[in-house]
């Protein structure tokens, strides 16, 4: 009995010293008080999409430690509405943004009048997931590798000038159809009208 009590005292003392040391390293304002009310996690998309799903997966697992997390879906404007709202919120730890490449990289560059600065107005915490785009062909296309596709595209161009995109205004596709280059001999069907030249791959490899 006596030895048990002794062991408990030692354990209690050990825990007390650990937590005192841990607390001492924190500034007074953050000590044990954060969070003391629900955190608002702003998702820059409508509910149900993949960004929303990832945000909710994270929130579900963060709740045991952070307490209440209220998901606020603010779609629209390609995410700029949500990002602007968070950028203008108080930096008190009670507003977070489930930000993506759209809000942090693309929109601030292409907005005619940027309503926030992704570097100055937002503080990075963590990347939680990455979505990877891929280049794919229909089964009927006789190309098993990217090199074979490039060779095939060149061969088509050589045989059939009609397969060329207009030289000055190539069919270029953004997002879902990705980024062809000006020299790309493959015409894409655009879902968006936005021309987006780039993809060094095509300019480097195909234009030769």
């Amino acid at each position: 009995m006596g030895s048990q009590m002794h062991r408990r005292d030692v354990l209690a003392f050990g825990l007390a010293s650990v937590s005192t040391a841990a607390l001492r390293s924190l500034p007074a304002s953050a000590q044990a008080t954060y969070p003391d009310r629900p955190i608002r996690l702003v998702v820059p998309r409508a509910a149900g999409g993949v960004v929303d799903v990832v945000a909710r997966l994270w929130a579900e697992r963060a709740k045991p430690q952070l307490g209440g997390i209220v998901i606020e879906n603010q779609g629209g404007g390609g995410g700029t509405i949500a990002a602007t709202a968070v950028a203008r919120s108080a930096g008190d730890g009670y507003t977070l943004l489930a930000g993506t490449t759209s809000e942090l990289v693309i929109n601030p560059v292409i907005m005619s009048q940027p309503s926030y600065d992704p570097i100055k107005d937002l503080v990075p915490i963590s990347i939680t997931a990455i979505s990877v785009s891929s280049l794919m062909v229909h089964e009927s296309v006789p190309a098993r590798t990217l090199q074979e596709l490039i060779a095939y595209a060149r061969a088509i161009r050589a045989r059939s000038p009609t397969a060329r995109p207009a030289p000055a205004r190539p069919r270029i596709c953004a997002a879902s159809c990705s980024r062809c280059s000006l020299a790309c001999p493959i015409s894409c069907t655009c879902r968006t009208k936005a021309p987006l030249p780039g993809w060094r791959i095509s300019s480097a490899a195909i234009s030769r």
């Binding site: 924190l26 500034p27 304002s29 953050a30 993949v50 960004v51 990832v54 994270w58 697992r61 963060a62 952070l66 390609g78 700029t80 968070v86 950028a87 108080a90 930096g91 730890g93 507003t95 977070l96 943004l97 489930a98 993506t100 490449t101 942090l104 990289v105 560059v109 292409i110 907005m111 009048q113 570097i119 100055k120 107005d121 503080v123 990075p124 915490i125 963590s126 990347i127 939680t128 997931a129 979505s131 990877v132 785009s133 891929s134 280049l135 794919m136 062909v137 229909h138 089964e139 190309a143 098993r144 590798t145 990217l146 090199q147 596709l149 270029i172 936005a194 030249p197 060094r200 480097a204």
Partner: protein, 125 residues
């Protein structure tokens, strides 16, 4: 040819032979499909077409709070069930992130995309 994000339905079509994924625009093997060639495999290491999802706070948020949430997020990211759910949703898990890594990554993406976006003339109002 077309591009689309790697996700279980797309992988199913690839495995069934309906489509052929020639390259995934990343330099890391995919957690859910390690057999798919990535940009370094096909000789185009600059072919990086990935989108991230992360957590950000308004400027002025205390460093201690940022670190607290980042530490918690690392714990969550290490959970296998969380990773599997991300893969099912078409995402690649990221297990080694934090404030500095995120800042670096966003910076790299801005360097990668800004010239292309400017050259494209793409604008939103």
């Amino acid at each position: 040819m077309m591009t689309a994000s790697i996700s279980p339905p797309v992988l199913d079509m690839h495995r069934a032979g309906k489509i052929r994924i020639l390259v995934a625009g990343t330099n890391r093997r995919l957690a859910g499909a390690p057999d798919i060639p990535v940009s370094t495999d096909v000789g185009f290491p600059d072919l990086i077409t990935q989108q991230f999802m992360g957590l950000f706070a308004p400027a002025g948020t205390q460093k201690q709070i940022i670190e607290q949430i980042a530490g918690l997020t690392r714990e969550i990211a290490a959970d296998k069930d969380f990773q599997n759910k991300l893969v099912q949703a078409g995402f690649e898990p990221v297990t080694d992130s934090g404030p500095q890594a995120t800042a670096t990554y966003v910076h790299e993406e801005l360097v990668r995309w800004t010239p292309l976006l400017k050259a494209s003339g793409l604008r939103i109002n």
